[in-house]
Point group: C2
Chain length 234, copies 2
């Protein structure tokens, strides 16, 4: 059942919903390709418009500016992660096991995905590694936060924090630990590729076993429980 789940994002992220029109989808699809190729700094609405043979003005009708577009893409990604995590854990009763599934998905382990998208999700995942921090590391954070633009990241974080508390109700840093896991995942994917002397994590295998191991180790030693030794069913 390859359901087309519609990911519902905060309306303040865009001026016109890009999923509703062909042009909108072209903007999203091509912006992902271009940001992945050029990096966020070199990416401009003019270059994007050229690629989709449209105009800068048209792109501006969908997104206020490129920062909002980045926020849109990143939010979409967190929403997608949330969906995948729910999908793969909804019938896992043991909380520790659910946390492990969470980590496995975070670390980008390829799992059969029921959600098909009109754009390159792997490119988006690379964008999240390289650019996601820039979505909030600005002088505009507080305004953007008030506008609810980080809602998806925060709610996903909270959801996983509850799992941590289920494992150990006395654990004093559930949100901190989960956000650390999120940030650490991206940083170590990046380090493994570009600054390998900063980590023991290696990228060689598709399963990213060393990243998964490191994250499991960090999480479970902090929470104070041994890593559950269960093979997940997929």
């Amino acid at each position: 059942m390859s359901a087309t789940i519609t990911i519902k994002l905060n309306e303040k992220l865009f001026l016109r919903d890009p999923e509703q029109t062909e042009l909108g989808k072209a903007i999203v699809k091509e912006s992902i390709r271009l940001i992945d190729e050029l990096g966020f700094e070199q990416f401009t609405f003019k270059k994007l418009a050229q690629q989709i043979t449209s105009t800068e003005a048209s792109v501006y009708r969908y997104f206020e500016n490129k920062h909002k577009l980045l926020l849109y893409l990143v939010s979409w990604y967190w929403n997608w992660l949330d969906y995948r995590i729910s999908y793969h854990t909804h019938n896992v009763t043991d909380a520790a096991e659910r946390l492990q599934v969470f980590i496995k998905i975070l670390a980008a382990d390829p799992m059969k995905e029921p959600l098909t998208t009109f754009f390159d999700v792997e490119a988006l995942a690379r964008i999240v590694v390289l650019e996601a921090s820039k979505a909030y590391l600005t002088k505009e954070v507080d305004n953007d936060n008030r506008a609810g633009l980080f809602r998806d990241y925060k709610s996903l974080c909270h959801k996983m924090a509850l799992v941590v508390l289920e494992i150990n109700p006395e654990y004093p840093y559930p949100h901190a630990l989960v956000s650390t896991l999120f940030e650490t995942t991206r940083k170590h994917l990046f380090f493994a590729q570009h600054l390998p002397s900063l980590t023991e994590v290696k990228l060689e295998q598709a399963g990213l076993t060393s990243l998964t191991s490191y994250l499991n180790h960090l999480a479970f030693s902090a929470i104070g429980t041994a890593v559950v030794n269960t093979q997940s069913k997929d």
Copy 2:
């Protein structure tokens, strides 16, 4: 003994050494003030030149571009941290205790500092929190890395990794853990201030005890040793 330790940075970070001239020092001092005030995106060499009543062209004679300037400032900061850590640990024999001093300094606990600077170090520390990630999260990382522009961060990381190994020679992720501690420190200082729902860390106290506690907890539970309960002597 308030020694004026000269922090020696990679020469590729600048075109002309800013510490050698009055103009150079003015550039560094005022750029720290301006980046802290405006954020890195809104900061320009033109604005900087106006502040120091010099010209854009003169600034460009010291730094190739604003990205290199950021790299310079961030490298200076890591170097300064390195110096402080060495200073406060050189006669601490116990490795676990040295790691704790390291964490305490990382978390910006105010300690008597022997190094006096001609600019606002606290502003620089804020810049590191908000902007340091942008120094490497670019499409230019590999070039910058080849040019040795991350040398200071990497060597500091390695130094601390050796301390981790001294505590537990079997520990499989010393560099990963240390870089996680670095990144986590900055992220949680940021979260505590702007996205508090992502962390239990609070900023209220000068000593930042909650951040220090969280970092100690993360580090020592991962390494597999209890937190040493020693009051440091300062």
